[in-house]
């Protein structure tokens, strides 16, 4: 693999990553326990959203079942830990399970396009929720399961800040792996798939198997996030794995900018952190949020990260319009 050349964009991205990492590492100095918890939650939501971005942003398919995969990861870890298995063995089990279920669900759903996957995943999420709620012998139903924080190399992760660092590390590793994936020839086929699926097909890219793998890898990312979510909250019940959390995960990707690497980071921040700062708006917050989503789709469907480009394009268009108007005025005798 060749190293990326140091173009201006790369330098800017690198500077941004360094600044963000420094900010995230310094943040606990200024935050109380709840703030650190929220940032940990943000990191894990971002991991799940990065996975969804593969499905939505690169393979162009709407998936409304990401929270179900989160639940599969979380419950796999919780059930195995309850049976006395170590977290670090439960983690790969949960991730593999999410990946396998992703393949099994994606296979029928991806036979057909767009709305079918959306509804298949929506229904799948409803089914997983029903199983978690009804199968009390396995999942504890609405009573949930208590989950202890794991140990790492003999060091307990009970403190909020220690676990926050673990969540950040999980985010960093996932982001790096996905970045490497997207830079590989395989990932480039992905981008081609997004930009023009029919051309991709005619170039010999097997659209279905690529989309399916994108979907299953996205599901595995959610499995990772879920596996770390259970010990973060110390307790899991069905509520964070229903349809509404899936919709929020989808909106994280959409708001940030589908198909953009940093889109999920921004989107997860807006969906996870903003409601906490806007507590004053109370019940009306989600109404405003819904209207914001509609407005974003109307004016800039590429998400918030596409806004600067959009503004630049609008300026250029205005300038050229003014220029041609001036030119016409000048040409007049």
């Amino acid at each position: 693999m060749t190293l990326p050349t140091l173009s201006r964009a790369n330098v800017a991205a690198l500077a941004f990553i360094v600044a963000m990492t420094a900010g995230l590492l310094a943040a606990p100095l200024f935050l109380k326990t709840y703030g650190v918890y929220l940032l940990s939650l943000w990191a894990l939501n971002t991991v799940a959203a990065i996975g969804l971005n593969l499905t939505l942003g690169y393979a162009g398919q709407i998936s409304l079942g990401q929270a179900a995969f989160l639940g599969i990861g979380a419950y796999a870890v919780a059930i195995l830990m309850k049976a006395g298995v170590s977290f670090w063995l439960g983690l790969p089990a949960g991730v593999l399970l999410a990946f396998a279920v992703g393949l099994a669900l994606g296979f029928p759903a991806l036979r057909v396009q767009h709305h079918y996957l959306a509804f298949a995943t929506l229904g799948f999420n409803a089914l997983v929720f029903l199983v978690i709620r009804n199968e009390e012998w396995l999942t504890g139903g609405n009573f949930g399961i208590r989950v202890a924080r794991p140990e790492l190399l003999g060091h307990s992760l009970r403190s909020g800040i220690d676990y926050y660092h673990v969540c950040l590390a999980v985010l960093a590793v996932t982001a790096l792996l996905v970045w490497l994936l997207l830079r590989s020839p395989w990932g480039r086929a992905f981008a081609c798939l997004r930009d023009n699926p029919i051309r991709a097909e005619s170039l010999g890219i097997d659209v279905r198997s690529y989309t399916l793998l994108a979907f299953a890898i996205g599901a595995a990312c959610a499995g990772v996030a879920g596996a770390f979510l259970a010990p973060l909250v110390n307790f899991i019940d069905p509520s964070p794995f229903g349809l509404v959390p899936s919709i929020y995960l989808l909106l994280m990707v959409i708001i940030g900018g589908p198909g953009r690497f940093f889109g999920p980071f921004l989107g997860a921040a807006i969906v996870t952190l903003l409601p906490e700062w806007l507590r004053v708006a109370d019940v009306w917050y989600l109404v405003i949020f819904g209207i914001f989503v509609v407005a974003l789709m109307a004016f800039c469907p590429g998400g918030l990260l596409a806004v600067p480009e959009k503004v630049a394009a609008m300026r250029a268009a205005r300038r050229s319009a003014r220029g041609s108007a001036a030119g016409q005025a000048g040409a007049r005798p």
């Binding site: 298949a120 109404v287 974003l296």
Partner: protein, 292 residues
């Protein structure tokens, strides 16, 4: 045997309501490729308006229904199309679908903010009695629901096949370009389909709310079932939506009684998966050509 008949009849009543919501859904899909995730909320909002008319303004149900129907047609039909569909349709299917998800959030939480999260009773538009015929017990309400939906479907069918406007609407749904060439005012007819969809949803609200009780998330499962019904029957066919709705309603009810009540809501999903595996165009659907 008698029990199966009873369960089937009440399943048909539920299915008839799914079918009505699903038909509106396919109408929007046919004319504008809109996947309306807010379809369930299009049922919830008129129910909320009716309840407002009854509780706050002390109106009789019939008057409240007509009022809610008109407001729905204006707001969820015409205004929805003008303010959300028209500016977004050029961006493609995905942003439009996401925008309707945003709309769902706004509508659901708006009603929750105003009216709270509790379930509220809703008056029955028809009498509820138990009729016994040859040892089989029917609920008069179920029969009335089936009859009302049948009447609506008949009227809609007459309108679509028997009037110039209706036939033009079908032309627009089947081939918008050809419709323009034939001098049909496509924009106005698309607007009509949105108004018809809103009206169907309002009628469904009148029938379903007394059974489910009113709650801000009334539309959640209803919208989902309607999607499944539409896809099972055939996404590009009104008949398909009707058949799909009835099948989902009946099988759901049968499985609730004879199989696993806790998994009743998974029946539609199971059928849906079978359909997309073995007959992706739906039971009555035609295959859609893919455009390059």
């Amino acid at each position: 045997m008698q029990e199966i008949l009873q369960v089937t009849i009440s399943g048909l009543a539920t299915g008839a309501i799914y079918a009505m919501v699903a038909m509106g859904f396919t109408l929007l899909w046919q004319t504008t490729s809109t996947i309306n995730f807010a379809q369930g909320e299009f049922v919830m909002l008129p129910a909320f308006l009716m309840l407002g008319g009854i509780v706050v303004l002390d109106l009789p149900l019939a008057v409240a229904f007509v009022g809610a129907l008109l407001i729905s047609a204006a707001l969820l039909g015409a205004a929805f199309k003008r303010a959300i569909i028209d500016p977004m349709i050029r961006h493609g299917v995905l942003p439009l679908a996401i925008a309707t998800i945003g709309l769902t959030l706004a509508l659901k939480n708006g009603v929750k903010a105003i009216y709270g999260a509790e379930a509220h009773p809703f008056p029955h538009p028809f009498p509820v009695e138990i009729w016994r015929v040859l040892g089989v017990a029917f609920s008069s309400y179920d029969i009335a629901v089936i009859a009302s939906v049948a009447a609506v479907v008949f009227a809609l069918n007459r309108f679509l096949n028997g009037t110039m406007t209706g036939r033009s609407m079908q032309a627009v749904a089947q081939n918008p370009e050809a419709a323009v060439v034939l001098g049909i005012d496509v924009k106005r007819l698309i607007l009509y389909t949105f108004v018809v969809n809103a009206a169907l949803a309002a009628a469904a609200a009148l029938l379903v709310t007394p059974v489910y009780l009113f709650k801000f998330d009334l539309g959640e499962s209803l919208g989902l079932k309607a999607f499944y019904a539409a896809i099972i029957g055939g996404f590009n066919q009104m008949r398909g939506a009707l058949v799909g709705g009835l099948i989902v309603g009946v099988l759901e009810n049968l499985s609730a009684v004879y199989f696993a009540p806790a998994y009743k809501d998974a029946v539609a999903l199971g059928l849906f998966v079978l359909v997309i595996l073995f007959r992706p165009e739906g039971l009555l659907g035609r295959e859609e050509a893919r455009r390059v």
